[in-house]
Amino acid sequence: MKTIRIANGQGFWGDSLDAPIEQVRRGPIDYLTLDYLAEITMSIMQKQRARDPRQGYARDFVAMIEEILPDLVERQVKVVANAGGVNPEACRDAVIEVARRKGFGGRVAVGIVAGDDILDRLDDFIARGVELKNLDTGEPLAEIRPQVASANVYFGGRPVAECLDQGGQIVICGRVTDTGLSLGPMIHEFKWPADAFDLLAAGTIAGHTIECGAQCTGGNCLIDWQTIPDMADIGYPIIEAREDGTFVITKHEGTGGRINVASIKEQLLYEMGNPHAYITPDCVADFTTIQLEQAGRDRVRFSGIKGRTATDSYKVSISYSAGWKAVGSLVYAWPDAYLKAQAADRVLRERLARMGLQFDSMLTEFVGVDACHGPLSGAPPSDIAEVTLRIGVRSQDKRAVERFTREIAPLVLNGPPTVTGFAGGRPKVEEIIAYWPALIPKDEVEPRISVIKA
């Protein structure tokens, strides 16, 4: 039976720079998939494009392609990446320029999957009653329309497959679901029809398993974490997909990390909502039907997966400006480290209150005591060696947040004693770009696919 190997080389924008290169060079793969996007990435890219119309995509991707292009051509590895950001055409042009410069002109076909960027159409949608209500709060988008910074539809695996069908060897997507990056090659290779929901669900779950990179090969793995081999050289995941919808998750020989049934279960549950209904543009996958078995060292086989018909909506990822925030911290040492940090918190709050500053939220945490597990942490030892006081504020008033940042360092001289850790200077005031999830009827948007020879 036909089998293809689909590798993940990037779990998020900011992941290991070497991982994609290693995935191509250290063993056989047919496809390299790369996820460069986080929910707020698109808003950063919109700003970049506003400053320069040739920007607005993941430039790391182009640098990475430059490095591995000879390997990709020699080994006939295809690439699928949501590196296009809000300007897939510019990303494609940059890749084509690299290909020509490296002497691969005429030998590389670069495709794009665009059409996901609906920022310019929002007013038209709202005027026609497409409300783009917040999935969590039910509020219509009109409430925050002036603050919107980006708006992108999540496409699935189908348009990726169409781009590959048209001959694309490097497929650059705007906003495609993480799972769609892996499902696309399976649809293309195995000719899975749009109503083969069990197969599409299997490909979706395969994509979900590898979408966070090394988080399914031993990274962030709780079970037996101390014995996971050679984490410094951790292998990134590979799907060995078969046309019957069964697949194996594995990694290259000789790499570090661990893949077993238990480590795979951890990743399957990561960011899981309702396991009966994992909704994607291609299908609704049912995680309660997955059967796992160990199929050799660092190999886990999946079978039995069921899916159902897709919904008639796409999910939309909208980002908007939601105010300002800053977080500052100071470190207090033994003796009475926790008491000193608590006293400093009281002093700071009293000063801020006297200034009459308005904050939507102010949060104090004592790192080393209870920042992670809150009240579940229990009382700290009375002789605790040190405690970090960490205070954050959020406000619509940028000046209030700025004023807050100037009150942290003074505490070193005018607050409780034995304090340090202020060398980083004043905390940074950050604009909050918040996430607005919504749905849009599928017939309102159409993927735009094209392929150009370098």
């Binding site: 969590d136 079970i223 951890e266 990561y270 899981m272 909502g273 309660t288 992670c372 597990h373 770009i433």
Partner: protein, 119 residues
């Protein structure tokens, strides 16, 4: 019967979707799944996360994986970039859940680790 912390019976991973954290709880052995399903109810998880989870707790069963999935709504100070928390993505809620104690028979408690038994 004796009380044992979940950390002896299960492993876990957690993550976020907006202001909702999810915690996947996975039995170390297939025979432990029944104990988890019976005792680690949505109501107990809601009580366990008092002061952290300010919304509802939903529970889903995945017997095929020997696992339960919990959704802890309103648990991340607004979530994502709005959150001021160190753990804005709820990534450490996995082991926070493993602090919970459940009841097992004396023999299993001894097997799991004498030190984990309080009575």
């Amino acid at each position: 019967m004796a009380k044992v912390q979940l950390v002896k019976l299960a492993h876990a991973r957690s993550g976020d979707k907006g202001d909702t954290a999810n915690v996947g709880l996975i039995a170390y052995q297939p025979e432990y799944y029944g104990l988890l399903a019976e005792q680690v109810t949505a109501a107990r998880v809601k009580a366990h996360f008092a002061g952290i989870c300010h919304g509802e707790v939903e529970r889903y069963e995945l017997p095929n994986l020997g696992a339960l999935n919990f959704l802890l709504h309103h648990s991340l100070d607004g979530g994502g970039t709005l959150s001021l928390k160190t753990d804005a993505q709820g990534k450490t809620y996995s082991t926070a859940l493993l602090r919970m104690e459940i009841e097992v028979d004396e023999q299993l408690a001894r097997e799991l680790n004498g030190e984990g038994v309080t009575d």
